[in-house]
Symmetry: C3
Subunit: 403 residues, 3 copies
């Protein structure tokens, strides 16, 4: 052993220290491929095949059998010390681009950055959270009606101080299904016509958001958020004969196609993370284009909506279970659907997610849905408006893999 020590000493003390040049990074050390896949079965115990939920899941309603809801592949990476890039596409049948943006960091400790490209508009909490992490199968109409696919072309300035980033790391490390870091403070501009659509006016929407996670001495975390956006939305999917009316109900244009409507909302979020019992609620209020059956026109109307969810997180051996129940309310239009379709939603969901492994998840969710949705085609016939009410229950299953 002495000899060995002497050899070691020789190596450590007497050989000259050679400075090895860092080899250039290989492409696979710079960028990373990842993603997830969601398969669903919406065919169990459906009580009303006429109840469809277009924005949330095209394969809900009328026995749509097995379906792929999301096939996501992402390419992302730090292409420079201060530049991060992220491209995400959905390949479920046809291709549609989700994200293509870059983050340009403005300070050395990565608190302040500009994001440019197609990305999520920082409005709401649920919209920010990835579908990979959300417990209920779909986002709520209340919040998601603000932004179809949650995204738009935009430029946003984000700021997140160090303490908030530490809490985000804790949330991630503890599998608490966070929304990700979309800034403790965000201020930005976006086209306003939602993702993969070209802008239709010379008016950019503006958005502002403040969100902060407070961690208490017992490790419990409460996140509070307020957010708002404003702009003009141009309707581009309009049935023949649908005009525009003003607040008094006066018809002011005969064709709503290409018309500029006020589009603005303000909202707030409260989240108590499930350690082991959590609570999550959001509310938003605003105004925007909405179909009016009485006059067969689109007009600017008030909208408001909310959801509240109670959820748990229980580890049993290697397995994690997340039971949850959520109630959704929404009264307003969906500007991006046919005739800025008018909605009244009262849904209750009860479900559970089972994670046997981080690569694999199963969700079962029973839904009690009660909905009115009106556009000219569904609800206006021979000059008479008949509201289109649909109610029904269904058991929905989802298997998800993460890679």
């Amino acid at each position: 052993q002495d000899k060995l020590v002497s050899v070691e000493d020789s190596i450590n003390q007497e050989l000259p220290q050679v400075e090895m040049p860092t080899p250039p990074r290989k492409w696979f050390e710079t960028i990373k491929i990842s993603g997830y896949v969601q398969s669903r079965y919406n065919g169990l115990f459906e009580t009303n095949p006429d109840l469809a939920v277009e924005q949330m899941d095209k394969n809900w309603g009328a026995d749509k059998g097995l379906s792929l809801r999301r096939v996501r592949v992402k390419v992302s990476g730090w292409i420079h010390e201060k530049v991060y890039m992220y491209i995400q596409g959905d390949f479920a049948g046809e291709f549609s681009l989700k994200d293509a943006y870059m983050d340009l960091y403005l300070d050395d400790n990565k608190s302040l950055w500009v994001r440019a490209g197609q990305s999520k508009v920082p409005f709401g909490y649920e919209n920010m959270q990835s579908s990979q992490h959300r417990l209920p199968l779909d986002r709520s109409d209340a919040i998601n009606s603000a932004l179809k696919n949650e995204r738009d072309m935009m430029a946003v300035l984000y700021y997140t101080p160090e303490p908030a980033r530490e809490v985000y790391k804790y949330l991630k490390a503890n599998n608490l299904k966070h929304s990700g870091n979309y800034g403790a403070f965000a201020l930005g501009a976006f086209n306003g016509q939602t993702a993969n659509k070209k802008d239709e006016n010379d008016n950019l929407h503006t958005v502002v958001r403040a969100s902060y996670p407070f961690q208490f001495a017992n490790d419990q975390i409460m996140e509070l958020s307020v957010h708002a956006y404003t702009g003009k939305y141009v309707t581009t999917s309009v049935s023949e004969g649908v005009g525009v009316s003003d607040a008094s109900g006066e018809r002011i244009a005969d064709d709503a196609n290409g018309y500029n409507f006020i589009d603005r909302r303000v909202g707030a979020t409260f989240v108590w993370y499930p350690q082991p019992i959590g609570f999550q609620a959001e509310y938003n209020y605003g105004e925007g284009p909405e179909y009016d059956g009485a006059t067969n026109t689109i007009k600017v109307q008030d909208l408001h909506g909310a959801y509240a969810m109670v959820m748990g997180k229980f580890d049993i051996g290697h397995h994690t279970f997340f039971p949850f129940t959520r109630y959704i309310y929404y009264d307003g239009g969906k500007k991006f659907e046919l005739d800025a379709r008018s909605y009244e939603v009262n849904d209750l969901e009860i479900g559970i997610e089972w994670q046997p492994h981080k690569a694999f998840e199963l969700v079962a969710m029973y839904v009690f849905a009660d909905r009115r949705y009106d556009d000219s085609a569904s609800s206006f016939n021979d000059g008479v408006y008949t509201p289109n009410y649909q109610a029904g229950n269904i058991l929905r299953l989802q298997a998800q893999i993460n890679f």
Copy 2:
């Protein structure tokens, strides 16, 4: 040298054994990107430009010149000890999803697994075999008419015992162009409307298959397979005026669009692998929707079809040559084409595949085609039905790269 040995001994015997923690796997160690590309030239010695083969190659007929038949990219990998994922897309011009599934293994030696998502329906041998490995350029109408793109949304239970898996390994190692492991036994359910289509009824198709490779003492291998499926198919591509008639020829509906038709088949396969001479044949029989020119309706009719192929495998230096000749017969409908188009096919092919290297293949194939294919648009005019017979010869070339 004594000193060296003493140092080695010191290291081996006296230093404490340190347990190195396994570093987490990098993304590129878990998942793998691979694929293949097929370029074709269908412009040589074509005798009948009116002869088109819609399902097999859209660029066959009327001098379609150079074309890309398949541009495939796959992302696959073991995302967990017992979970394998596989995503494959085709990028030839436009994107279409091929596979997006996961395999969940139920036992420790990987004999039994559930596959869920979009994948190949286990019916037939040729349908299972990748186009990357098939000798003729396209699948036969006889078998492929069962399932356009071979795939559907499904959940299937597979079982393959150890001895069969050993034979599959032998087939792969010896470049014998196997179908891959789709189970010695398979039992499953699928939507029934083929890949990337939503389900149209509350009826799932069911499928069952048994297939076994017998390897003899002289290493020769014979594979036998039987398979069947049943369900109801809903026609969604129907010309105006095309109704539905029953077995007696009575018109029972004026619009075949959305109609539920019986759709079922039973088939068998025999394969003798080419060491160096092989033989492959498949037959299937069943009933399903088929256009009837006499009444301009779609009705449930019998269908049957078969192909037989003789092929060789010859290694000359680094090069491998696979000469082959195949005869195809089919009499029945193609449920997924316009008006469940009616077919009578008699094709003979003679060709050779040349593999100078595993990354690169060339195929030349001369085809004698004799086909009748009728739909309302092509064959029904002013109340008169005229069968659409097309016969012709053509030389087809294909270059393939594998990565």
Copy 3:
């Protein structure tokens, strides 16, 4: 230290030399994922919202706001010692395939190769140069009107001798934004209907190109190129009522849809690379289908076009700046646009590209555009032809990331 040396000697001299087998290459050592993303803002100081430039940027004109011009992902690699493969797709909203080809090298030092598949047709310099490297935001109408998307299905023989390849390496190493190696000499055949379109006739286009970079003793480089193609183009996007007329103006067909038109050009390029001041110019002349407003027909007409650009390259610290100004002239048709739209273009551009890092670039470009573009829909009304002249200025911004 003596002991150490003796140990080292023992290792080096007395232990048998073990030949380690080369481990097989991993997939990520064979193929590589790379790409780039271009985000634009065309909404500043626009003087004429009616001025659109369909081929170059669909989001130019009428306040199209923020947009993604290109989201490119490539998979490429040496899949064999002598076979290189390259697949590139564009994912900006929808997917479209750009390249899918293989290079098969015919000699040992990689001077001579055949490229087969979808790739750029070797006509012009600007068409060969990647948009990742070009200084102005879009290619010129003068050259790019020859080939929409620059690509087609083809088989081309390329030859580049060693000295030329050395100059290309110098150009790349010095960030001189070269076109890449498309052969000092190229000879090929292509379908003629541009990328992702099927061929429409039994006539392949042929193309020939010679291009050589001369490097002088002071390292200055001059590249000269001549190129030509000929074939028949079939118009497939034709307004109702648009016929075909011959050279004398005689109407010879009532429907120009599916008609075979002469389509041929010859061109030349001069490039002096910016060390630090450069100059680049191209000219081409030919004939092809072009809309004729007087007769509301498409007829074969002469076309010619050119551009000239002066550019600089200045390194300031880690930053590189490329100021440039370009003038474009084109008088002729665009065979692939509606009615082989007739163009007269006089554009002047002044801009600058700023490269703070190789992963990130910013371009600002001010455009003075003066254009006539006529098709039957825009310019022929009630039997009267009125030329559609549009002139206007705009400031355009682009951010690009490379990975």
